[in-house]
Amino acid sequence: MRIHEYQAKKILSEYSILVPPGFTVLSENELEEVANTLGFPLVVKAQIHGGGRGKARGIRIVRTIEELRSEVRSLLGKRLVTSQSGEEGKYVGKVLVETFEEVKEELYLAILVDRDVEGIRLIASKKGGVNIEDVFREDPSLILTELIDPRYGLLPYKIRRVFFSLGLDFALLEPFSALCEKLYRAFLEKECLLCEINPLAHVPNKGFVAIDAKMVIDDNALFRHKDLAEMYDPTQEDSRELNARASGINYVRLKGNVGCVANGAGLAMATMDLVRMAGKEPANFLDVGGGATKEMVSYGLRLVHSDENVKVIFVNVFGGILRCDTFAMGFKDASPHIYKPVIMRLSGTNAEEGLRIVKETGSAIIVRDLKEALEKLKEIKV
């Protein structure tokens, strides 16, 4: 689960990591007070999930109350389109107004779960303030990493190894170590997949300051972090995906026009692949799940059908725990609402009974196997 910058900074503050003084603003009325408290120059930052805010003018420096007002007005309540947001953009429900810190050198610091080595990785670079993947592509030697075994924790020597390669003044070893230890504690206790401070600045007379912060929390761990679960911001997601999830269905909206419905995440991905094999583009990923009821099936079908881009629906079900007859009953329930063509492949447990029920509705083009499905997908005009 992504959280907003202001939320991540609040967590970092709890671990006594310095962040610029600032306020989260929900309406223009608060601006005068904020400006009086903080003083200028200030920076206005749109709170959306996903990067690319800088280039999309989601981050703006202001020097007067008028500038502050107009910049906040132009962001708050609007949708901000960035390189990562998709063309519909992300809703800006809050802006963060912070003291603008003049910094000379921007560093990068992150701790993340590295699935390839099945461990935790500390990453630092003296080239912060930019996308770390770009830095890695251009000059991997600028990126320093250390693996952390959670059984032994983040030991001081690992931090020293990274620190020496950063080429900072030796006097900064102690505050840098303290910073890393705090960040690791936050990472561990909040069960993050990623804690990133980028840029990280060293401000004289203050110490290390997290200018920007990103946190991704393990969805699977939210059951033991009520406070974090409450940080979830539904405005940052596609409302269809949200509704689907509320019904226990995995749905991801894509850009094509062939709606896909399958059971099981793997089969749902493979279903999209088949659509592409046929030279078409899938409109979505949809997995009704192994334990789906006919209500969930019906809901999933109507959800896909309701997408205006969808011209045809490809149903690909291999019955197991979800039996084909249960699926067919769900299809039958949905069928009065379905007028777009449906190509349906039903195999596995209780396939015969399922096919009988589907046939009765008369609302589907039934195919015997995936090969025939592929042919039908190729034939159909969308």
Partner: protein
């Protein structure tokens, strides 16, 4: 032979009295799996389908001599259940549970490596050596005993593939679902190593998907250390970045985690990659008898 499990494998079920645990214990028994005990602290001393229920795994192991365990506990208890199994002398652990926190798995994985125990999953349908032993939740009847080893990160995809094989009268030596989470016990390479050594397995089908780099690892291992013919399929071609595709582990976090990158790695190691799910069965048939 087969890998991991066979007709002699004695299995206990941790979480035997839960809904899932009870249902699948019955299915496993029907299939002929030697389920010799269950663990459920609350129902200690009772029996289920004639199987004794113990309060702890160590008690169950002591009383039944079980070597394998199938875990159905809740996500919050999975770490404890896996470590309990390891600590009680279980050598093969199959963790069905979906939704285990990744920080728990990081700890577990270190233990597994340290102790040399085999863990399959979590978030896996399990492992089956057809007509001999099934530890997990897959439908037994679609499988058939034979010489093709199947490894998959996805449950439904492996059912699909197995069913295509069985329909073409191609049996399987063992089918292993390694699980759909970012951090799992056995990785592709661990299973491949066993298949390579197994006298029964003549051909291997690997079913990958987006996310992580286990397929690249497998490709490298294949090139260096394997001689048996193998084909692969990778789900999620053209999937968008940073979007979770159902499985907790099916998310593209960088270029190399895409299906395209994986397919390229597999092909460059000499593994035949099937592009269409519809053709896996036939491809295996063609390659197996060529």
């Amino acid at each position: 032979m087969s890998i991991l499990v066979d007709e002699t494998t004695k299995v206990i079920v941790q979480g035997i009295t839960g809904r899932e645990g009870a249902f699948h214990t019955e299915r496993m028994l029907e299939y002929g799996t030697k389920v010799v005990g269950g663990v459920s602290p609350k129902k200690r001393g009772q029996t289920f389908l004639g199987i004794p229920i113990f309060g702890t795994v160590s008690e169950a192991v002591r009383e039944t001599g079980a070597q394998a365990s199938c875990i159905f506990v809740s996500p919050m208890n999975a770490k404890d259940a896996i470590i309990e199994a390891v600590d009680s002398g279980i050598k093969l652990i199959v963790c069905i549970t979906e939704g285990v926190p990744i920080h728990d798995m990081l700890i577990v994985k270190n233990l597994i490596r340290e102790k040399g125990v085999i863990l399959i999953g979590p978030n896996t349908p399990g492992v089956i050596s057809p007509e001999r032993c099934k530890i997990g939740v897959m439908a037994g009847h679609i499988h058939k005993r034979g010489n093709v080893g199947v490894i998959s990160r996805s449950g439904t995809l492996s059912y699909e593939v197995v069913s295509q094989l069985t329909d073409l009268n191609i049996g399987q030596s063992t089918c292993v679902g390694i699980g759909g989470d970012p951090v799992v016990g056995m990785r592709f390479v661990d299973v491949l190593e066993l298949f390579e050594k197994d006298g029964e397995t003549e051909f291997i089908v690997l079913i990958g998907e987006i996310g992580g780099s286990m397929e690249q690892e497998a490709a490298e291992f294949y090139k260096k250390s394997m001689s048996k013919p193998m084909c692969a399929y990778v789900a999620g071609y053209g999937a968008p970045r940073e979007k979770k595709m159902g499985h907790a582990g099916a998310i593209i976090m960088g270029e190399k985690e895409s299906a395209e990158a994986k397919i390229e790695a597999l092909e460059s190691s000499g593994i035949f990659v099937v592009r269409s799910l519809a053709e896996i069965g036939e491809t295996v048939k063609r390659l197996l008898y060529s």
